[in-house]
């Protein structure tokens, strides 16, 4: 039994199949990269896992339990955290309060939530901005806050949706370091990313989709040399 798996996930928006039969498995402690061109159904897959969308059909199984009928907040409690591609900072709250709100999913007293939040903020390297309002953060800070907030819910599986997009080279290195640190901490990760340098560096395996369907899966080297993947990204001329 895999640690986490999605099985033949399908999502129709009206007549459009955004995701059409995607299946993959993730083992504990691994980093799975999810790649594909724009509109290929990556974020929709994440939204089905975290129950923002109900799958039209298919199953999501986490530690042996079917979770695709549970509401979003219960999925978080089970141990699946996520970040948003279009960042969703709780703008008029400080960075610390953002993370405290997340920490309350694991503890009940204010003192415990405060401690857990501070620990998470230090882990994510945001201690220097903890008292700033979330809306005052630049994009790199907001992306990092997404991760810090998700980490404060103590996830066993973390879904990262383009957390490196829009970062400059220095910030990119920091982001990669943080993701590696999270994995060393024992958290399993599924990551959506367009920046090839990031996804090739950190993924153990890569799952490529296009038009809502799986086109390749394997190690970064295998996927990078896969004909269908090159075709999807660069067109038939290059394949």
């Amino acid at each position: 039994m895999a640690f986490f798996q999605v099985e033949k996930l399908v999502k129709y928006f009206g007549g459009l199949a955004a995701v059409n039969g995607v299946s993959f498995q993730v083992e504990k402690g691994e980093i799975l990269g999810l790649i594909g061109p724009n509109g290929s159904g990556k974020t929709t897959t994440f939204n089905m896992i975290s129950a923002y969308h109900r799958p039209t059909s298919g199953r999501v199984i986490f530690k042996g339990q079917e979770i695709h009928r549970l509401p979003t907040h219960k999925i978080c409690k089970l141990g699946i955290g996520r970040t948003f591609q279009v960042v969703k900072p709780l703008g008029r709250m400080s960075v610390l309060d953002n993370v405290i709100a997340a920490a309350y999913s694991r503890v009940n007293s204010h003192a415990e939530a405060h401690d857990l939040a501070l620990e998470t903020i230090r882990f994510c390297g945001m201690a220097s901005v903890k008292d700033q309002l979330a809306k005052a953060l630049p994009i790199a800070g907001r992306k990092r806050l997404e991760i810090a907030r998700a980490m404060a819910t103590k996830p066993e599986l973390l879904l990262l949706d383009e957390t490196a997009a829009g970062l400059n080279p220095t910030e990119l290195i920091e982001a990669i370091d943080l993701i590696k640190k999270i994995r060393e901490n024992g958290t399993t990760i599924v990551i959506i990313e367009h920046i090839m340098h990031v996804i090739m560096t950190i993924s153990d395996r890569i799952h490529a989709i296009n038009f809502g369907q799986t086109i390749a899966e394997g190690t970064p080297q295998e996927v990078a040399s896969n004909k269908a993947v090159i075709e999807a990204y660069l067109g038939t001329d290059y394949a």
Partner: protein, 334 residues
């Protein structure tokens, strides 16, 4: 300690107020003020902290008032029992409403609260056999003096503010504000947004209902148009919240004070000043204004809201540093 100094001084001043001021008119105004502190704090919880703007506070206010009134009218029990019951009746109205309507977000939810308000107003007017319809309910006040009512209202204002502050500073408070800031993000953090919106609504409805019961006891008369009034209760609650400062601790208190004062300024024709001026100068124009201005408090509200939103978008308490700076600067300049 210094942080608590101002509230304690205000509380002490409020506690001795009826002992110092014997004039029933001012005591009456202060009772209204305290009642609005309760309603404003409740509105601030659901709209200011949780971000679910309610246009229908009168639904809860009226439910509380009718709970007390009907109890006394039908069962000949003292309407004071309604003070306890009224809050729970308002919660009983609010929970099924919230359970259904919290599926809607933003303006759609606000419109639903407006509908709830109107449904209850018409319902109370139509169900003549039970509520007395437009004739309303008249009960004998328990006290001739205003002092007992004043202290009940003061106790209520303090209890509502303390209880709401206590909740806002704990886990539910973080959850309420998270929901206000981004409901989808809140869900991803393990927050059962539907449940916490209901919790916030229930607490707000409870205190608004309690305020309604006090109104029944104090005024001795209610009818559907008075307690389910859109502009006298629901809109007034919003104004108290906005003028004082949305999502601030003491905003509703400042807002209640300003709004009751403004309402009374207009209602009394600036405390009879205009009528006096009219007589003294013999000017017909001022006398005419004095007669019509008493009905123009709604106009005053409108102007006040426009000014507040333009100049102090975060309310008097929310923009207090701004006000302090402006005053300070003009002083140094002069």
């Amino acid at each position: 300690m210094k942080k608590n100094l101002v509230p304690l001084v205000v509380l002490a001043a409020l506690a001795v107020f009826p002992l110092v001021v014997a004039d029933n008119y001012y005591r009456h105004l202060m009772i209204l003020f305290l009642m609005w502190v309760v309603i404003g704090s409740a509105w601030n919880l659901i709209a200011g902290y949780t971000g679910q703007v309610s246009f229908g506070d009168a639904a809860f206010f009226g439910s509380g008032a009718y709970a007390a009134g009907l109890l006394s009218h039908h069962l000949q029990i003292s309407a004071w029992w309604g003070l306890a019951l009224g809050g729970f009746v308002a919660v009983a109205v609010g929970l099924p409403f919230g359970w259904i309507c919290f599926r809607m977000r933003g303006a759609y939810f606000a419109l639903a609260t407006l509908a709830l308000n109107e449904v209850l107003r018409h319902g109370a007017a139509i169900a003549e056999g039970f509520t007395g319809g437009m004739v309303g309910i008249l009960i004998m006040p328990s006290f001739v003096s205003k002092v007992p009512y004043y202290y009940v209202a003061l106790g209520m204002a303090v209890a509502s503010m303390i209880s709401i502050q206590w909740i806002v500073r704990a886990k539910p408070g973080y959850y309420f504000v998270s929901i206000r800031e981004d409901q989808d993000a809140a869900e991803s953090l393990g927050i059962n947004t539907h449940f916490y919106k209901m919790l916030s609504l229930a607490i707000a409805a409870f205190w608004t209902g309690v305020a309604g019961s006090l109104y029944m006891n104090y005024m001795g008369f209610i009818d559907p148009d008075v307690v389910f009034s859109l502009h006298d209760i629901s809109i007034m609650a919003i104004l108290v919240g906005i003028v004082g400062g949305v999502g601030t601790v003491y905003g509703p208190m400042v807002g209640a004070f300003v709004m009751v004062t403004v309402q009374e300024l207009f209602r009394s024709g600036f405390f009879g000043l205009l009528a006096f001026l009219g007589k003294a100068t013999g000017s017909g124009a001022i006398e005419a204004i004095a007669k019509t201005i008493t009905g123009a408090h709604v106009l005053g509200f409108g102007i006040l809201v426009v000014v507040v939103i333009l100049v102090l978008p975060n309310g008097i308490v929310g923009d207090w540093p701004k006000i302090r700076n402006a005053v300070f600067r003009t002083k140094t300049a002069a």
